[in-house]
Amino acid sequence: MDFLLINESYKFFDIGILSIIIFLPVLGSLVLLFINNDNAVRYFALVVTVANAVISLPLYWGFDPTTPKYQFGEHHAWFPGLDIWYTLGIDGISLLLVLMTTLLMPLCVLGSWKYIQKRVKEFMICLLIMETSMLGVFMALDFVLFYILWEAMLIPMYLLIAVWGGPRKTYASIKFFLYTLAGSVMLLVALIALYLKTGSFSIPNMMGQGYSTVFQFWVFLAFFLAFAIKVPMFPFHTWLPAAHVEAPTAGSVVLASVLLKMGTYGFLRFCLPITPDATFTFMPYILWLSIAGILYGGFTALAQSDMKKLVAYSSVGHMGFVTLGIFVLNKNGIEGAMLQMINHGVTTGALFLMVGMIYERTHSRELAMATGVGKFMPLYVIFLGFFSLSSLAFPGTNSFVGEFLVLAGGFTHSTLIASFAIPGAVLAAAYMLRMLQKVVWGGTKNPDQSYLFDLDAREVITLAPLLLFVFWIGLGPSPFLDVMHTSVHHLIEQVNAASHGATTMASLIP
């Protein structure tokens, strides 16, 4: 296991820190089964998620940013007969995603405090199981383990939408389930194909094998479908607005902030290093799809009258920037994309929380019903202002740094393609400022908003950490970028070294 670094000092009773982080939430959910008071359930879920966040912090301090190897590694036999191992480890690509997930979960619990009134216990159990499987996906280095956790995520997410969702929850949850399942099937195909070729389920061992271009072509295509649906890339995005609109606040936050990142994480972990030749072949098409997503997401967001749909479509645009950054295949682009993944998690998560807060008060997500609340909820609109500016990549906020790097990478690769992304940046300003203007001021004929009350302490505590990250990443992103450098450098080497050059699509189809 030369790709794995095992840090002996990060063990507790001989259990690795990663396993603790993965299994703590699911153990917490088992305890929840025996708690019957709703408030006690909420507090307990909060304690578990906060504890997990605290335990995950040493990952950052203990992380060695000078090596591309997978750190905090754990390697145990699971099904030795089938050569399936329980292998965990994180590198510069997954570290920040793990930390973001653990830090967001307490906020999801806080954001559902009042929103969820029915079946609180079941809700929190779903949330905790989600946390376990999401963290597992980012840490798993064995393909079977990865696949199981990837599939396991579907069930609690389906339940979150189908049980606690809005009026069209059945439609939305089934659509979400079917789309994602269709993608997962392709992932299974790729899994089997790669196992037959290499005889191992170890993800790092699948990299750099110099597969034939035809094999790479088909495996890439299978990966691509699975991950593109998850991102979601245009034109596989139609499940997203439905799922977001119907999901409860915490569901939307988990969906936007973490689940979408699994698609882009998949590109970085699987497509680029395992099928580098095919990556080059498909690069131009994916870049144009990203541009289509950026523009489509922007225009559609501009036309929304439902705040949640607006934020959902803005996600399509933002994730377009991420895929754009990944597939320009240079350092600025990929690091920008990775930072943008974190930024999107922070900012869009915050925006969904804020839409949820207004929904709790007006019982509507219609923009028209939330116009002119600025006078009665000054604190709310101050937060909304900062997060909207962050979402439109205002300089000095987190998204600007990510977008700047992505576009710098884009312009290095092709001025033409990157210039098509610029209208997307303009559109982001347009739809975000439009929403902000309406919510803060509205027009001359606003509905009576005098019954509204401003944010309470719990809501401020929910949003404040995210605001901190908006400005921290915006003004001093070094701590976040520093941990990426080596891994990204290694990744680019993997893509370039193994490449026999791009081949045309036509010559590949047998």
Binding site: E335, P395, F404, F411, T415, I422, A428, T444, P477, S478
Partner: protein, 499 residues
């Protein structure tokens, strides 16, 4: 010579802390306005204290944040950092001084009209100055862009202040023009400049620029025009239309917009980028100056002609601003030493004169509720001080000695004569625009002092506006005369820029 100093940060913080104090003191209006005053005076004093260092030929710099660490050998770090040099000082000194005057004026104006939401107004006002001084002291393109955008966002509530349909329309136009151009043109230009040069820091002189010798001429030309039209606050046609739309704002805001913060941020950014990113050498080599000069000449003449047709006083002043701003860019675009000096000194000269004109328009409105020039016949005899100040400032705009505008026109005219080609064309542009200036400014004063009262109008009960308005406007007019007779103070900065 470079000195490390955090004074520019303190100057900017004065406005930011002022904003917070204004928000906290809220409803107690005397206390609130004291906060504005203290912030304005503090900022001015800090900036004034830097004048001797700058005049001694030194440059103060400091770095606050590293927004992007150095990514590789080719890509330098991007920072939020500040520099105080002579070029920055022209704008910062004038803007911070005028803020003090404007604070007093707006006290009189806002209370005189019993305007609503005065706390928000004062807070946004201070924030706009925070952004404007940030632009002045920016040491690189990113910092400039950051504060440029802050100005856009913070002035939106000022433009929409009245919160009626007209206010929202004007404000929407305002923000659409400014953010679209900033995001659509300046942002890609900035990223491409970073990709090509590996840095966003400004050059240390106005000649060399930051582009490497091998940079593609076509690309540099495209980037140049992106910057020229991207900083839409400069009012160059066709991206000028937000300015007349923003006239719905209360008059102190118009004064701030047109004289101090917003439009000057636009021309300052444009000229800063022209001189310190592209540099006169590159502009000369790629022949960028002459096309720019023709573009802004078109703006100068067209805006003046439109101004002639406007009866609303503030609308006429707005188009006058569009025209006058292009003088500044014209001067720099001509690329001769005198012309650049003429353009840069106009940043200060136009500020003092135009703020006088807007202050007068506001005072007239508060005292008599008149907005249109045709209704002001004989009003000068009732409000002699206001109209006297208006007359002085008009003379400055026209470029008559001994008022400030004369210095500008003189330098610009000399500058055209230093050119080897196209000199007659731009000489004619300047002369024609001077005549047009006379055409739209002279009738206002003449009508007010010597015209007949409109039928049935007695101006009963109309008298000069309150002292807190008349003193600032008269002071600004007097300063226009002083810097016309003694232009050396500002010319020293300008001369330090051109070296």
């Amino acid at each position: 010579m470079i000195v490390e100093s955090y004074k520019p940060v303190y100057a900017i913080l004065a406005a930011l802390i002022g904003t917070i104090c204004v928000l906290m003191t809220g409803k107690r209006e005397n206390l609130r306005e004291t906060c504005s005053c203290i912030a304005a005076v503090t900022m001015f004093l800090i900036i004034a204290s830097m004048v001797p260092t700058v005049l001694a030929g030194k440059k103060m710099v400091c770095t606050l944040f590293e927004v992007l660490p150095q990514m590789s050998d080719t890509y330098q770090a991007i920072t939020v950092s500040f520099r105080v040099d002579a070029f920055a000082m022209i704008f910062a000194f004038v803007a911070s001084f005028l803020w003090i005057i404007t604070v007093f004026y707006s006290m009189g104006y806002m209370r005189g009209l019993h305007e609503h939401a005065q706390t928000r107004f004062n807070a946004c006002f201070a924030l706009a100055l925070f952004g404007a001084i940030g632009v002045a002291f920016a040491d690189n393109l990113f910092t400039l862009y950051l504060f440029y955008e802050i100005v856009s966002v913070c002035t939106y509530p000022l433009v929409a202040h009245h919160q009626d349909d007209e206010g929202y329309d004007g404000a929407r136009k305002y923000i659409v023009y400014l953010t679209t151009t900033a995001k659509g043109l300046v942002l890609p230009a900035m990223i491409l400049i970073y990709v090509i040069t590996g840095t966003l820091d400004f050059a240390n002189n106005i000649q060399t620029g930051i582009f490497p010798a091998g940079a593609s001429g076509t690309m540099v030309t495209v980037l140049y025009f992106f910057c020229l039209f991207g900083f839409a606050k400069n009012g160059v046609m066709p991206v000028h239309n937000w300015l007349p739309g923003a006239m719905v704002a209360p008059t102190p805001v118009s004064a701030l917009l047109h004289a101090v913060a917003v439009v000057k941020v636009g021309v300052f950014s444009t000229t800063r980028v022209m001189l310190y990113v592209f540099g006169t050498d590159t502009m000369g080599a790629l022949n960028l100056g002459i096309p720019t000069a023709y573009i802004v000449s078109f703006t100068i003449i067209t805006a003046s002609i439109i101004a002639l047709t406007k009866d609303n006083l503030k609308a006429r002043l707005a188009y006058s601003t569009v025209s006058q701003l292009s003088y500044i860019i014209l001067g720099v675009a001509l690329l001769t030493p005198s012309a650049i000096e003429g353009g840069l000194v106009h940043i200060a000269n136009h500020a003092f004169s135009k703020i006088t004109l807007f202050f007068c328009a506001g005072a007239i409105y508060v005292a008599s509720h008149k907005k249109n020039i045709s209704e002001m016949g004989g009003l000068g005899r009732t409000m002699p001080f206001t109209f006297a100040a208006f007359a002085i400032a008009s003379l400055s705009m026209i470029g008559a000695p001994p008022v400030a505008g004369f210095v500008t026109k003189w330098k610009l005219l000399v500058g055209t004569m230093e050119m080897s080609s196209h000199n007659i064309a731009f000489l004619l542009v300047l002369l024609a625009s001077t005549l047009l200036n006379v055409g739209y400014f002279a009738p206002v004063t003449i009508k007010a002092f010597f015209g007949k009262r409109p039928a049935g109008e007695t101006y009963n009960g109309v008298q000069e506006a309150s002292l807190s308005m008349v003193i600032p406007l008269f002071l600004a007019a007097i300063i226009s005369v002083i810097i016309g007779i003694y232009p050396d103070f500002i010319m020293n900065f300008v001369k330090a820029v051109t070296g």
